[in-house]
Subunit: 235 residues, 4 copies
């Protein structure tokens, strides 16, 4: 009798919650992230158009249909993959930024953080190229994107205000900085050099901040009679 009651009680309880297979609340999120992680390397390796989802599914040990449970199309999967990487990049850079106060150090930290990210995840460059190649319409997924560029502008303004930097048009400054970062990253990507990007941080800063001339603005063009006329002054 007691048994019966207990049983029926148990049954009543069990009937309520587990109607059907208990839903693993986190499974979708975990599976999704798993797919995104594999997919990043996958698309970077094969390039978007040559990437057969069957192959990705095989690598993940799932069926092709499963991919489509999480992403409605190959295109969506790819774009989600790139977004995911970009978010990680932003996150990492932001974490690096809040660790220091002075504008100069912030710039250095941000730079180092970008470089470190691409050292750790070199395939992301490939993804950026692929995205640009296939989906031209998309906004730039770049180191110095819209949001961040405001921060950078502020830092440079501060540095000019407190007399550390020359009175240079901030807009151009940010553009040059941005271009240099790009350039360094893509340069390594294309030349396939094995040096880390992070090791280039000092070089970049040195050049940008100190320039190459032995004596500032001395303009002793003793090698040639010409004058190259640098004019990156205030607008």
């Amino acid at each position: 009798m007691a048994d019966a009651t207990t049983t029926s009680d148990l049954i009543t309880v069990t009937m309520r919650k587990p109607v059907g297979r208990p839903k693993d609340e986190d499974l979708p999120a975990r599976r999704r992230q798993e797919i995104l992680d594999a997919s990043a390397l996958f698309f970077a390796r094969l390039g978007y158009p040559n990437a057969d989802l069957k192959l990705l599914a095989d690598e993940l040990g799932v069926a092709k249909g499963t991919l489509y449970r999480y992403f409605p199309s190959k295109k969506h999967l790819f774009l989600a993959t790139v977004d995911n990487c970009m978010q990680k990049l932003s996150q990492q850079v932001n974490v690096a930024l809040i660790q220091v106060e002075s504008p100069l150090e912030r710039i250095e930290h941000a730079l180092r953080s970008y470089f470190r990210f691409f050292d750790l995840h070199p395939h992301v460059v490939e993804l950026i190229v692929q995205e640009r190649a296939e989906f031209k319409q998309r906004a730039l997924p770049v180191p110095l994107d819209e949001d961040n560029s405001a921060l950078w502008r502020q830092h440079f303004s501060d540095l000019i205000a407190c007399g550390v930097l020359r009175e240079v048009a901030v807009e151009r400054l940010v553009q040059m900085m941005s271009s240099l970062i790009y350039g360094v990253i893509f340069n390594k990507y294309i030349s396939g050099s094995s040096e880390t990007l992070e090791s280039k941080t000092e070089d970049v800063l040195d050049i940008v901040f100190n320039g190459l001339m032995k004596e500032k603005n001395c303009n002793h063009m003793n090698c040639s009679k010409g004058n190259h006329g640098s004019k990156i002054d205030n607008q």
Copy 2:
């Protein structure tokens, strides 16, 4: 007149080739170049994988099969197209270089020449991206490619030797320069800005040569106590 006719008849026999059909010896070459020219814009516009050769043929006013008379495959056509563009770039830069003597001016001229090329042929950037995206194995088709980098190295060495530039590792110098050029070009390509690249020549040179610091190497970090420690010295 009758003579003429006879003559022309005779001539016809002998001259059959040059007269009947001048047998335009250059036609194939011209046709080939026509295809390459159209193809550059075409691939840049649609991207390699989305580029249907039927469409290119239509635009050229020829049949699809004709393309295959000039290029053995779509891939060959594409790569030949990019090569063609790269050759034009090299040519233009070399022409610019021989016009001046002094290393400093040469650098400026080369830079300006690169930028001018991409201002004139903006689609070439797209081609470079496409090539990298689809055919990773291929060597870099870059502004500062192997051949040119030797020249640049020489120029910078000279400038250091004669005391214009700081004693900086030439290798790094060339790399930074190269990166900055890349970066500027891709930056415009991605952001879609309408400013010409050529107008950036001075900015680039100013930053690279003069740096951003108000006073060279003074290291007055009055904004923060930190010291960012630039170390781009001789190796």
Copy 3:
């Protein structure tokens, strides 16, 4: 012993029901009917091949797997659905028939009943079309199906025997009647007219009967010299 055990078991079971969980004995049947009802509208709306069972499950508020507990396959579900509708139709017509005695009235009642059914359940026409389109092998699920046609034949025979109708081959009569009913139903279905079918009952009867009643065949073809020679006489 075995019996006893069984009995006691049964008792236990019976006890369990009213106490622990009422164990709704009809639940499966009700669930099944619910599915069939939803499914009829569903298949009619989307068409058999475009009908995704996931969607039906969602509409029913159950999981896709549940459908498979009640029907072994999509095909079975669909055919059961159509059967279900056909049974309802037969039922309704039979109810209408037993309400009257005279053959003439029975025919009218049956007709009206058919029409009323499709006025009330217009989607059933779509189901019939779908069934025919996908499963050609299946026997016709038609107003005048095998079983009923015997009844109809009887009624017409009676009407001929008692002199109400002309001496027409009953077989053909039934066929024409059947065709006309079909035609009216599909006509509305296809043209999408909003008039009720029921309102057509009189038209149909008038045409059919006034064409069949004795004492006609006046045949004054004064518009043309031709004679179209109606020959629907005894075979």
Copy 4:
């Protein structure tokens, strides 16, 4: 001389036209019709959703891609196929109509023509069903379509005007006629009877006309006391 001139002329002429493979001007049309013909039987046999174009291509002895040269999609091919059949039907009926003058005979001819068409091309019924099943939106592909219904209305009006037919609402008349034709065709289609439709022409006419002719309505309902109340009079 003349020869020479002629020859050169000829050459000039020949050079102009046959640049490349001479285009068989009729081939596309012939091929297209071949595909449509095979496709009609094919879709009728398998049903639209089960029809794998690979199979149709095999039957035609061509590759799947060839089908797509002529029709942009399976859907387009199917709809074009049905259209093609409908056009043939219309054509045949129109040919039948112009052969006679009197309205009565025209009706008979049209009717017989419809029936003959479906006797000759029984699969067309299946196509109509398939089209309705898959592409509900489409306008009715019916015997008595919009265009023809005007003609029919005229014929019936004439017959009423000259006193052959009872004063019945033409609209309803046409609808009943249309419904009966449908019904007869679908009835045979569904029951799979082997009798020709054409043989039913007289039956249909007899029922319809002897039901419509003046001087009837005798209404001796001696079998039952009821009165079924025919009311298909003027509106």
